[in-house]
Every structure is written in C-alpha cells, then in structure tokens.
Symmetry: C2
Subunit: 226 residues, 2 copies
DNA sequence: TTATATTGATAGTAATACTATTATATTTGT
DNA sequence: ACAAATATAATAGTATTACTATCAATATAA
C-alpha cells in the first residue's frame, strides 16, 4: 500500500501527521484530494470542508489524520523534497566529474521533469506546482521555528547541503555555496511564477523555458571565477 | 498632511484603496497601526478587528478605507516599492560609470538601510521587514492577475526594468538582466529570512550580513563574463 | 465472537471577513 | 452663524472557517 503513489518508498516525518495517511485508504484519498484541491483552489481557499465533500468523507475524519491544513501542505512539501533528494542521489551516483554532477543537480532542481522519463512520483508535476505556488505560505510564518524543530524542512536542507558540497569540490574557496543553491532553488520557482503572471520581471515566457539555462550559466560563471 | 510619514510625497495607485488613507487622521492611523500589527502578529493573524481595537476605532470605519486586509498589504508593499524607486533615482543621478550605478542599486535593493543616513520613510525599516516576511502572501495568489491589471505591482516592475537597463549598458549582450535582478531582489529577502530561521540554507548568520556582498560579487561576475 | 479500532453523522463554538443601519460628531459652504 | 454634507462611532447581523466533542455504525483482529 505504501507504493500506491510512488516508485520509491518514502519515510515521512511523523510530526507532520496525526495518523499516517499512507496507511489507509482514506488517508490516501486525503493526500490525492488535497493535492488536487490545493492546485485548483489555491491554499487560502482550500478547506477541510471542501476536501471532505470532494473525497466523500467528513471534516472530522480528516482531522484524525492532520491537525490543520498547514500540516497537510507541510506534508506535501516534505514529500516533494524527499523525492528531489532521491532523484539527486540517483543523478549523481557513479559520476566522477563534479561539474557534471552539479549540472545534473541544477537540472533536477530547476527544470520541469520530463513526464516520460524522469518522474519518481505519480503526482510529481502537481506537487511541483504546489511547491512553486504555495510553499512560502507555510515557510514565511511566525511558527517556522517550531515546524523547523519538528523537522519539517529537513529534506530541503539536506538537498541544499548536498549540492553545496559539490560546489566546494569544484571550488573549495568559494564562500557562499549554500546561499547560491537556496537562491537558485527559490529563484527557479519564482521565475516560473513570474513568467506566468508578471513577465516583465523575467526574460522569458511560458513557452520558452530559460530557467535551467539561466541558472546553469550563472552558477558555473560564479563558481569558476573564484 | 501628505508629508506626515515621509520626506517625499508619494502618489499611490488608487485601485489599492477605497478612500485615500493619507487624506485623514484616521487613515494615517490605519496605516501606522497596520504596519505595526502586521509586523508583530504576521499577516495571517492580523485582522481588522484587532487593528480597530489597537487604533481605537471600529471595523466598519476601516472598511471604508480598504476593501480587505490583502489590499492594505498591497498598499504597504507598493509604498515600499515607490520608496525604493525614489532611492534608486537619487542613487544613480549624475553618475557616469554604469558599474558604479549598478553597485549603488544593488546596495539599495539588498542591504538594510542605515537609519542615520539612508531612510526616506519614517517606517522604512518596518516596511522592509513586512516586504521580506509577507509580500509573497499577496503575490502568490489566484488573483495576482487582477491585482496586476490594477497596477498593484507597477513600482516593483519599474525598479526591475530600470536596473536591468543598467546591466545592459555594462554588457549589451547579456541575455537575462530582468531574471538576474528579480532573482536578486527576492533572493536577498529570502536569505535574510533563512539567516534568521533556517541558517543551514545560508552561509551567514544574523550578525554578519553577507547579502550585499554575495549579490554584488555574483552579479558582477555573471555580467562581465559575457 | 467479543473486543478494538476506524469511520460516519451530527452538533456545536469561537473567530473571521465581511455588510447594513442608524446615530452622532465634525467640517464646510454660504 | 447655520444648514447641509461628510466622516466616524456604535451596534447588529450573516456566512464561512477552523476547529472539538459525542455517539452510532462498521470493519478488523484476537
């Protein structure tokens, strides 16, 4: 049952749920339903009531799995980052050249994955869209520190540190590897949002996707001119 | 009365309010009060009821100035960007060397302003903090497109395009000036947030501020190695 | 087959995001 | 100085949200 959603098994942080949603039918309907509703309504208009109607259950039942809609979103985002962590491992194994490894990571972190080849989760594309549009709504809150203590962002931090270490292999004197990677990750999501809604803030449109090439060029220039 | 808050007069987009809040005593109390409450509570816990109590008026009176709390936040963000636009003009006038102009812009956009020298608004520091912590909550919504049509982001876009044009003066063949500047602006805010709450995503802490030096170094390397 | 856990059905509460109405000040034009 | 217009205060009310609580029905496991 664990594999229903994915080609890999993911161990999720237990502070994010009250009852493991992968362990039951209803739990999985909650995950599926929330992905689809958050995508379509946006996080502010997404409610447990609406989700209950959508998946034909009751608010009370959903509350047995998740404390709040914020926790569901944290769960989904964590799930996405576990998936990225997995893909980054796959994409850097047995590659001796650090620059090639870095380029693979940049690709994984900034490009929209090719649905015929690269997907690790069934709903990876929808999940990525949720990360792009909604993740700052649970990150930029007064209780980040509590969520952080509970490990809500561990997977994300692991990814950033892993890629930063590749940068240091290429240029051991480079001073800002973590800043560069977290800027790239957040920036790539923002640039996609801007391309869709505020194109004057970018140099691209929705049809020619320059995100990966922009960040690849930027990072290599910055790292190699130490 | 227009000058009560600032050393410059700012013409605010009239789609952002129902009644000009700079035109009355109550209006100015609403602005002051919302800046202080949004800073202390965070945007999600900020309500018109709480603001009404704080400034000793009623919800109904506040609703005569602003349609919703989202509009107040948009107003404040717009105000901040008008202020940045003004500072960027001041900081680039009569400077023939494009690289110096660019460095001044990077400073204005990424550094915390020196309170004894650089402030243009009384509440510029609080406003900047609100932009750092809250602006994505009105940007990343399903109605960005409507707000954008109403001109809610015009000042921001003007700033990005102005600085991008300086980049093109330095290197006319550079392909991604707007992406670089909007990534820098958003990134500098995020890096400050990370330094305060998720330091593993950065290479700094709250006490040694590397944001300006990181972005100055990055931008110059990227632009000049065409 | 009895005990246990899981879900459904229903109800209820406090807070939020508003709208509406009327009364009371305050300002302004003449 | 006074009527007219305007701004604000006071109060009430509604639909929705974000929960909590209770109890019955149903599936599952010992």
């Amino acid at each position: 049952m664990n594999q229903l959603f994915s080609k890999m098994s993911i161990q999720m942080n237990e502070h994010l749920y009250l009852k493991d949603p992968t362990s039951s039918d209803l739990g999985q309907k909650i995950l599926r339903g929330s992905i689809s509703l958050i995508s379509s309504l946006g996080f502010e208009k997404f409610t447990f009531k609406k989700l209950a109607i959508e998946i034909d259950t009751t608010e009370a039942s959903i509350y047995r799995y998740f404390e709040s809609k914020q926790k569901i979103l944290l769960y989904l985002i964590n799930w996405y980052w576990s998936c990225m962590w997995f893909r980054i491992h796959m994409g850097t194994q047995n590659i001796p050249d650090a620059e090639v490894r870095l380029k693979n990571c940049i690709h994984i972190l900034t490009a929209i994955p090719d649905p015929t080849q690269e997907l690790v989760l069934d709903n990876e594309l929808e999940l990525k869209q949720i990360v792009i549009n909604e993740s700052s709504k649970v990150l930029l809150t007064k209780n980040v520190d509590d969520e952080n203590k509970n490990g809500a962002f561990t997977e994300y931090k692991k990814v950033v540190e892993f890629v930063s270490s590749i940068i240091l292999e290429i240029n051991p004197t480079y001073e800002f590897p973590n800043m560069l990677i977290s800027t790239m990750i957040e920036g790539s999501n923002q640039q996609r949002f801007f391309a869709a809604h505020l194109p004057r803030l970018t140099n691209m449109n929705q049809h020619d996707d320059l995100v990966e090439s922009f960040f690849t060029e930027t990072l290599l220039k910055v790292i190699k001119h130490g």
